[in-house]
Amino acid sequence: MTDDILLTNMDSVPGRTIIRHIGLAQGNVVRAKHVGRDIAAGLKNIVGGELRGYTELLEEARRDAIRRMTEDARAQGANAVVNIRLSTSSVTSGASELYAYGTAVVLE
């Protein structure tokens, strides 16, 4: 997340002033697990614990969703996104949607 667009989940940016609110900026990604990871996770399901393959997969997808939101904000002429919320939902069994949304703003 090394970007010129500032991201925060607060409704203001610490130490900066918002001069204009532009509107909603959003990004989503739908990713499916693949068979290799499913088999590994299936074995892990016997002993329990963290499913690392899935953690990495979703981390990657979340980064993509945040990047798309950032691009959306940039296209609208913003230089920051505030009040960001992240959500995950399972679209069908085996596929997850990662969704990031926030308010695009212009900082002083």
Binding site: N45, I46, T88
Partner: protein, 150 residues
């Protein structure tokens, strides 16, 4: 008579073995993980984590941490039995809290590594991955917040 016993053993043997493996490894992993969480939380020291919406600081940036966890075979069967009479699922409460602490620690550690002094406005969300009640699936926990620098 012996034949019936043998065939019964063969049919329920793998199930019982899976239950035992799940219980043993699941409990061992839990004990190890809880000890590791305690240690890592102690290492964080006075790094501040809050749910405050407005916080002091000169610069902020989004930080996230996440983990996907699954119950072991024993706990998955236990939940099915527990569902009949209802009530608290203590084993599963522990599991979810472990996942939450792990996600929060990952977020805090990444913020600390970037030189932040605190993370404010922390949100924790969790979601089901597929059908976690059955053979596959797990639960994802995400922690995110705004890291601030002084």
């Amino acid at each position: 008579m012996n034949d019936i016993l043998t065939s019964m053993l063969i049919s329920i043997g793998p199930f019982v073995a899976l239950l035992l493996i799940g219980l043993t490894f699941g409990t061992l992993a839990q004990r190890r993980h809880l000890a590791q969480l305690d240690q890592r939380e102690a290492e964080l020291g006075d790094f501040m984590l809050t749910t405050l919406e407005h916080a002091p600081g000169r610069h902020g940036a989004l930080v996230t941490g996440s983990t996907v966890v699954a119950f072991d075979f024993f706990r998955r069967i236990a939940i099915l039995l527990r569902k009949i009479i209802g009530g608290r699922f203590r084993m599963h409460e522990t599991m979810m809290m472990r996942a939450r602490r792990e996600a929060m620690l990952r977020m805090a550690e990444s913020a600390k590594a970037q030189g932040a002094v605190a993370v404010h406005n922390i949100r924790l969300v969790s979601s089901n991955l597929g059908n976690s009640g059955s053979a596959m699936g797990g639960c994802e926990v995400v922690a995110y917040g705004t890291a601030v620098w002084i």
